[in-house]
Amino acid sequence: MVIHVPKLIPPGGVKRKVVVKSEDETSEEYGKRPSERSVEELLDGCFVNIDKPAGPTSHEVSSWVRRILGCSKTGHAGTLEPFLFRF
């Protein structure tokens, strides 16, 4: 079996062109564009880009965000460094 390692992407991302495979349109009867979501819907799943101060760990900040927003789950994708600045 061949295991594929996912391709890495540089920090600035990659520009990609869109290719049309077939034609179809979406119905307005169901679904919702991301920009039309209510705040409650956003709180069910969203990202917050936090300017983390030096000092507290990402884990601590994660639990504060959870408390501020009153939601059940948060997670971070912080650095491996325990004591520095992070987004």
């Binding site: 992407i9 540089p10 169901y30 679904g31 880009n49 300017d51 600045f85």
Partner: protein, 250 residues
């Protein structure tokens, strides 16, 4: 920081590079040209053993450094901008640069300035977050909280995307793989094994998956599985169920 179901997307952020600004302190006097020369050697693939105080197993790893710019040299302090693969220890990188320079060096300060789609521009402090939440909760003002909460889709901007038909959406929400007939548009450059995002024509994230075909195959083929679904984000029933179960066929 991922909230709610966005936590499922964190592993997809690990494949994208990170950018840091860092202050490196040299332990001796070195000429600026020499510093720039040594820093250039650290661009590309580097070997790195994680530092003693680290969050991962300390074995030699290979990491990609995309760019390493010397922004400023002020005596023994060197300001660096580094673009590197996730999981690169900048603290160790500074140490290693110091070793090559011969005088030794350590990292004094570090700030992450970019992690894929998340940059310093859309960054908020914890105080901003609290204020925005209170404005919304107590005064019904949505302006601030909307600026702070980034939709799920912000976290998959860096991935190659598949846009699918409304009729294919609910099947994927139930865990089905994405087959060729369900695809409307795709982004070019997709290779087998890539982590990809499946979106509706309205731009909502449905699921993450692994491409099981190359771009050319997807364009050419009329049938077959194009993406193996690995993580479903959208809840079932958001779109109507348009497939028939075996029981209904009988």
């Amino acid at each position: 920081m991922a909230v709610g179901s966005a936590t499922k997307l964190i592993h997809a952020l690990h494949i994208i590079g990170k950018e840091y600004i860092c202050v490196m302190r040299l332990h001796g006097d070195v000429e600026t040209e020499r510093i720039q020369e040594v820093c250039r050697e650290f661009i590309g693939l580097i070997y790195q053993r994680p530092p003693i105080r680290s969050s991962v197993k300390r074995r030699l790893r290979v990491r990609q450094v995309y760019y390493l710019d010397v922004l400023e040299v002020e005596r023994r302090n060197v300001l660096l901008r580094i673009g590197c693969e996730s999981g690169t220890y900048i603290r160790k990188l500074c140490h290693d640069i110091g070793e090559v320079l011969g005088c030794g060096a350590h990292m004094r300060e570090l700030r992450r300035t970019r992690s894929g789609p998340f940059t310093e521009e859309n960054m908020v402090t914890l105080h901003d977050l609290k204020d925005a939440y209170v404005f919304w909760k107590e005064e019904g003002d949505e302006t601030y909280i909307r600026r702070v909460l980034l939709p799920l889709e912000a976290g998959v901007q860096h991935l190659p995307k598949f846009f699918v038909r409304d009729s294919a959406v609910d099947a994927i929400c139930h865990g089905a793989d994405l087959a060729i007939p369900g695809i409307v548009r795709i982004e070019d450059g997709i290779e087998r094994g890539d982590i990809v995002a499946i979106l509706t024509l309205k731009g909502e994230l449905v699921a993450l998956g692994i491409a099981s075909m190359n771009m050319e195959e997807i364009v050419r083929e009329k049938r077959g599985v194009a993406v193996k679904t690995t993580r479903v984000i959208m809840s079932e029933g958001t779109y109507p169920k348009l497939w028939k179960s075996k029981k209904e066929k009988l």
